[in-house]
């Protein structure tokens, strides 16, 4: 799993490529937590190149969501992979987190 972080005007973009599973989620979770600890409030999780997400991976995303929400922040997700989208739909994540088809749309959307 590759993770890159980029600062944009409307938030911090964390791009994740590959599998977000029980192996990779620990590292991703730790690094996202560091971002939040050091002041990130509006996070865009770019999962365009994510090919798989397990329940452990969802837990990591959920943790970020809860953590940001409790600090009056926001989480936006960009997802295009059919499997990833299906897992997010099935588990109801799409009902609580805003999911966008492109990074441009996610960045253009109002936060909060």
């Amino acid at each position: 799993m590759d993770m890159t972080v980029k600062q944009e005007a409307s938030g911090t973009v964390v791009s994740l490529a590959g599998r977000l599973d029980v192996v990779s989620c620990e590292d991703v979770g730790r690094r996202v937590e560091e971002l939040i600890d050091t002041g990130t409030r509006h996070l865009v999780l770019d999962a365009s190149d994510m090919t798989y997400v397990s329940s452990a991976g969802l837990k990591t995303i959920l943790h970020a969501y809860k953590s940001l929400k409790s600090r009056q922040g926001s989480l936006r997700i960009v997802a295009t992979n059919e499997f990833v989208l299906q897992v997010m739909r099935t588990t109801g994540f799409t009902g609580i987190v805003a999911v966008f088809p492109t990074l441009a749309e996610a960045l253009a959307s109002p936060v909060g």
Binding site: S55, A56, K59, T91, G92
Partner: protein, 414 residues
Amino acid sequence: MTGTSATAAAPATGRVKVLVVDDEPDLSLLFRQRFRRQIGAGEMEFVFAANGLEALRTVEHDGDVDIVVTDINMPVMDGLTLLGELKSRPRLHRAVVMSAYDDLANIRAAMNRGAFDFITKPIDFQDLETTLGRTMEQVRGDRRASEARRQLQTLQHELDIARTIQRSILPDSLPRPARPDGVEIAGRMLPAAAIGGDFYDHFTIDADRIGFVIGDVSGKGVAAALFMAMTRTLVRASGQAGASAQSCVAAANRMLTSDNATTMFVSAFYGIMNRRTGELDFCNAGHTPVLVVRDGVATPLPTETNLVLGIEADYPYIGGRHQCRPGEALVLSTDGVTEAENVAGEFYGLPRLRGLLARIDTVDPSRILDAVLADVRSFTGAGQTDDITVLALEWRGGEGPGADGPTALDGTAY
């Protein structure tokens, strides 16, 4: 005088305790002098005994001797006898023998009794230091190995507890005489080595209604097993009190969320089946689609997408209804089925499951379980990384003629 004051502040894990056994009284002074730096730094601690018997008493009394450096010829109990005695003790001691340089027979005998190394007398302290250094390395290796073993045992113990919890909450599927009408349910779970957190349950609500639930907790180990036991208990409690599927799920969610400091969550499907009318009241909380098998076709039961349980206390769960037709089956599974991976990294997937259910063309719960589990196993080969759970339910229609039917094989007839 004993040097213990210098070693008292030493880190408990790093210090090595050496017992020197010799009938020469000057030796203790020599050792203390020679190793004063290591003693001062808390790396080593020395204790002394004048013969084998005294040494054994010290070993037993102190309980933390790592290395025994012993002479061979001593009064009361000699060094070889001491080595034999040490071998029978549960604690591992690394022994170094001191012997005259030409006393090969005794050195050999000592090595045969498990001595780690030897030095020759008169003592060359340079050699002694090297030898003790090597022995200390061995002791530290022993400690790391025993710590790893202990951690493994703890982990094993944790998995055993988790497995026991998981097994204890599954319903007993006692074969009861099946009837030509009503409902038959069969469920089976193949737990993964690391315990994935799957569960299922079914129970009687009243004369007409049966509750059934399948769930999958995100996480592994004891915490996941306890979360699963809690979910099952909460669903059962409000389910048996007669709550609708939707309010039962909402109530369980509220309780699970309020206690949840771990961001653990559980996906679950709860259904209430009326065995007389075939009416199904259900609520799907973020769980894998349920398949309806009828006339050789398996179609997903249309459900509202609800959030998994344990995240938002006030999430507005929406239930659904379905009218079963006689001879129709419902097949519930966890993602251990659809996300079972083969060696090429492909998923078993919902289409394959639907294809199989269409192909076997049966609504008998036990036969459905057998077929699904066998097919998943042949797809994945040997490896199983997640719990695999299937629950199948057949509605045979309302009250029929009432004749005795066959016995439900490993299912439960309601």
